[in-house]
């Protein structure tokens, strides 16, 4: 017997919080013992390698009644206004807000929009063995799963309840030809340390298959572009999905409807964005206040600029390796990875500035936009069209990769690292100038947003109102493989 459940339809609503609803609408989910399928979930393409997690969540959020497409989610989650920079021993990495501890903003989003967001994973397998303790340290709750059988049961019951699951997978096992590169290169998540987030919208016990909406097809490779051919919707057998999810600790995120947006939505979100822009350590995670090697928000750009000096670059390479070849490739990949991180930041920040005025419609954001906008042009100058889809194709696209490639080449030729860096000091100074300008704009933006908030009648607001990238690690590996 086919029992039809009442499920949530993603509504085409204006973006402001006042219109958010948790009201269930229409019938879009069919379910019975052994079969369930959620139709009419709006597809969200991730646009470029690096936004899969947020794109999968955007689909789930819209299904749960929060009208947040990817660009709105950049602003409403604060990730467009967040950044991190970590420099510790062999690690020097700039993380855009979209890549920075991707589970961390989820409770905040749940709180702002009155939703229930739950994380599931098996902390005994794959990345879960490291991710589980980290989540505990970050104060994030998750439900510990017991392997594949438990996960498949979760998929069944969640879809029967009318909700999709954003699941963490190894793209090596996913059928679209977009992932042939992983199969050809033999790149699995256990080698790359990365995965891909997709949305599971159905299951069929008779066929032994799940139905997947994949935000990532067309987001990289030589056939870059929106998947007009519809290959973003496909089926995967249970056994293939088990393989795809195993190393990713059978992880998933489920977003369920709740009580609707909080009464203080405007002030809560605006205050949160101020904290993110400034790099408030408590906002980025309690317990991180005294961790000297991590910087956030404006301080991430400032910290990175401080480390792009001769002394800091030499100290970093000394931490990595004394070997000439290793140091050569480390220099190139350092420039590339910073460029990738900045590019993701550029896109998410720029779109956040466009969408925030509609989300915080109660505030006068003119001064905020004026002070925040200068960062866009500096981010653009450090961003590159192709580095996230194929670094081998894009190399030397910006002053970042040009400078690091040039330093690497001169060092390789002369074996004098100090001289090689000094020779390109002017370029490094230009890069540092861009980073400091971004940091200054972020602080100024936080100040003006705070002023806008203080200039608003909060009592009126009370009446009115009612987040895995996946292939970034892979591209760096591919670059080195193809170069050697």
């Amino acid at each position: 017997m086919v029992a039809t459940l009442l499920c949530v339809t993603a509504l085409s609503l204006p973006i402001d919080a006042a219109t958010l609803t948790s009201t269930q609408q229409d019938t879009t989910c069919q379910s019975s013992a052994g079969y369930g399928y959620l139709s009419d979930i709006p597809y969200q393409w991730q646009e470029i390698n690096g936004f899969c997690h947020w794109s999968a969540l955007s689909m789930a959020l819209r299904h749960a009644g929060a009208p947040l497409d990817l660009h709105n989610l950049f602003a409403a989650s604060g990730i467009g206004f967040s950044a991190g920079y970590i420099r510790y021993e062999e690690l020097a990495v700039f993380l855009s807000g979209a890549m920075l501890r991707q589970m961390e903003p989820l409770p905040t989003i749940a709180s702002f929009y009155g939703l229930s967001i739950d994380i599931y994973m098996d902390d005994d397998v794959g990345i879960g063995t490291a991710y589980g303790p980290a989540m505990v340290a970050w104060g994030l709750n998750y439900t510990d799963m017991d392997g594949w059988t438990d996960t498949l049961d979760l998929i069944r019951t969640t879809i029967d309840d009318g909700y999709p699951l954003a699941i963490w997978t190894d793209p090596y096992y996913l059928p679209p030809s977009d992932y042939d590169f992983a199969r050809t290169q033999g790149l699995q998540s256990q080698d790359t340390g990365s995965g891909h987030s997709v949305l599971c919208v159905g299951y069929n016990d008779t066929a032994g298959e799940v139905r997947i909406m994949d935000p990532g097809v067309g987001a990289f490779g030589e056939n870059f572009g929106f998947p007009n051919d519809g290959r973003w919707l496909y089926s995967v057998s249970y056994s293939t999905l088990q393989n795809a999810m195993m190393h990713m600790s059978y992880g998933s995120v489920v977003i369920r409807t709740g009580n609707g947006p909080s009464d203080d939505f405007t002030s809560s979100l605006a205050s949160y964005i101020c904290e993110r822009l400034r790099g408030d350590r408590s906002s980025y995670g309690e317990g991180l206040e005294n961790i000297f090697f991590a910087n956030f928000g404006a301080d991430a750009f400032r910290g990175l600029s401080y480390d792009l000096t001769k002394e800091s670059i030499i100290a970093y390479l000394d931490d990595v390796s004394p070997n000439k070849d290793d140091r050569y490739y480390t220099l190139i990949i350092l420039g590339l990875q910073i460029e990738m991180g900045i590019t993701l930041q550029y896109l998410s920040y720029r779109e956040s500035l466009k969408t925030l005025p509609r989300i915080l419609a109660d505030l006068d954001l003119e001064a905020f936009l004026e002070s925040a906008s200068p960062a866009v042009s500096h981010l653009a100058l450090l961003s590159e069209n192709a580095s996230l889809i194929d670094p081998y194709y894009s190399i030397n696209g910006t002053i970042l990769t040009q400078t690091f490639t040039n330093i690497a080449a001169l060092y390789y030729e002369t074996e004098d690292l100090e001289d090689a860096i000094e020779y390109h000091e002017q370029d490094l100074e230009d890069i540092r100038g861009h980073l400091i300008a971004i940091a200054d704009a972020w602080v100024a933006a936080a100040d003006t947003l705070e002023a806008a908030l203080q200039g608003t009648d909060i009592t009126m607001q009370l009446v009115v109102v009612s987040g895995l990238a996946i292939v970034i690690a892979v591209v760096a590996i591919l670059y080195r493989r193809r170069s050697t």
Binding site: G225, N385, S394
Partner: protein, 96 residues
């Protein structure tokens, strides 16, 4: 008749090789070719995989086109370095 690329495709490929990835509109402006000719050349070059698509960070709904040097090299190998298409590609893209 030996396989070779038509003149309009060569003009488009040459402009991309010189200027880097461009949108169809930019190609039209750079080459002075009519938009329909550019569109047709892009289709032909794409079918041969001699172009690859690159994101346009200014507008993620659109994409830019750039030369696919790897495929060009494969074609030179496949048809032989003294073939017409190999000579064309070698002159434009400096592949051999």
């Amino acid at each position: 008749m030996a396989f070779q690329l038509p003149g309009s495709a060569l003009v488009v490929l040459r402009s991309l090789a010189r200027s880097g990835p461009m949108s169809p509109k930019e190609i039209t402006s750079t080459t002075k070719l009519p938009p329909r000719t550019v569109s047709s050349a892009i289709k032909r070059l794409s079918r041969l995989r001699l172009l690859r698509r690159v994101p346009d960070l200014q507008d993620m709904r659109k994409c830019l086109y750039g030369p696919n040097l790897e495929v060009a090299k494969e074609m030179v190998t496949k048809y032989g370095s003294d073939s017409m298409v190999a000579v064309q590609l070698s002159l434009i893209l400096a592949v051999r």
